[in-house]
Assembly symmetry: C2
Homo-oligomer: 154 residues x 2
DNA sequence: CCAATTAAAGAAAATTTATCTACATGGACA
DNA sequence: TGTCCATGTAGATAAATTTTCTTTAATTGG
């Protein structure tokens, strides 16, 4: 994992639709070693997948909500039902077990308040929570799937 | 935006590295109309971009932190400095202006607590906050860039 | 209900791009 | 110096993208 690999990752994180010719030029390698490195990075699992990112407004998803969950039922069954729900609810794009005040954090994408209310009812009908607090995003100032490459070891 | 478009978006959200042949087969169209629809969706901006997603562990980013910010300085200069910082800090992958208790919410990716502490110092040196509360993710239960297509109008 | 028009789909060819191989070159290092 | 890597060049093949043209299906006006 050297400077060339980092450059490849940097470029592909921004745009993976470019041709090998363009990529290798930007990276400063010829096509063959560039291609070999991509294969390697995919085999190693550093590159997980290649996806298309959609405009959330264009698909009618104007409302982002962060849902802070607390529970008093710390048993396996409870967690399973919540995990299952999150797994199958496409509105939930992120789901974390947290330290501190909130036990679990959800990031939810819906069109509007009405749709969120509907989602909310489905959520609380699925499992018991001692507290559910919803924080609404007024404005998305930044959203990026690019992760920093500055911390890569070596 | 009909059923075919939705299928195309569904597939490309999961994997945009598949060939047009595979995609058109899954969608149930021949290659040409399928290709034309993709072009259209890109021109319309429904498809924003195509990117490679990396394994955060593999690039040494084991710690996800949600940072809740409060301020009492509601002036343009303050916001500009914070926005600038967020823009240029690769550790900040998401940044929202919120309703309710917290004024702004950050999602931050760093290797470990030490790196977060370093980031934290840089953050608070950049602008004044009346409160900064950091929530640490213990476990990522779900992370997806796929957004629900069920709410598309028409 | 039918003919005319339009829009989208399909087929096939042409062009570009990706994939893989073989071999030569040059630097790093014991 | 000789060995080991990784790169570069070249090229062959396969595959994917894009264009062109034809056909089908849907729509509208009379």
């Amino acid at each position: 994992m050297d400077s060339f690999d980092k450059k490849i990752l940097f470029e592909l994180q921004r745009d993976c639709s470019i041709s090998l010719a363009q990529l290798s030029e930007r990276v400063g390698l010829s096509q063959t070693p560039c291609w070999r490195r991509i294969q390697q990075l995919e085999k190693q699992g550093v590159i997980r997948k290649r996806v298309a990112l959609l405009d959330t407004e264009a698909v009618n998803l104007g409302l982002t909500v962060f849902v802070h969950l607390k529970t008093n039922q710390h048993n396996p069954g409870w967690l399973t039902s919540v995990t299952d729900f999150a797994e199958h609810a496409p509105e939930i794009t992120e789901f974390y077990r947290m330290s501190g005040e909130t036990d679990y954090l959800l990031k939810v994408l819906v069109p509007d308040m009405k749709a969120y209310d509907n989602f909310y009812k489905r959520l609380i009908s699925q499992a018991g929570f001692s507290d559910v607090s919803s924080s609404f995003a007024m404005e998305q100032m930044k959203y990026s799937t690019e992760v920093p490459l500055d911390y890569i070891h070596k």
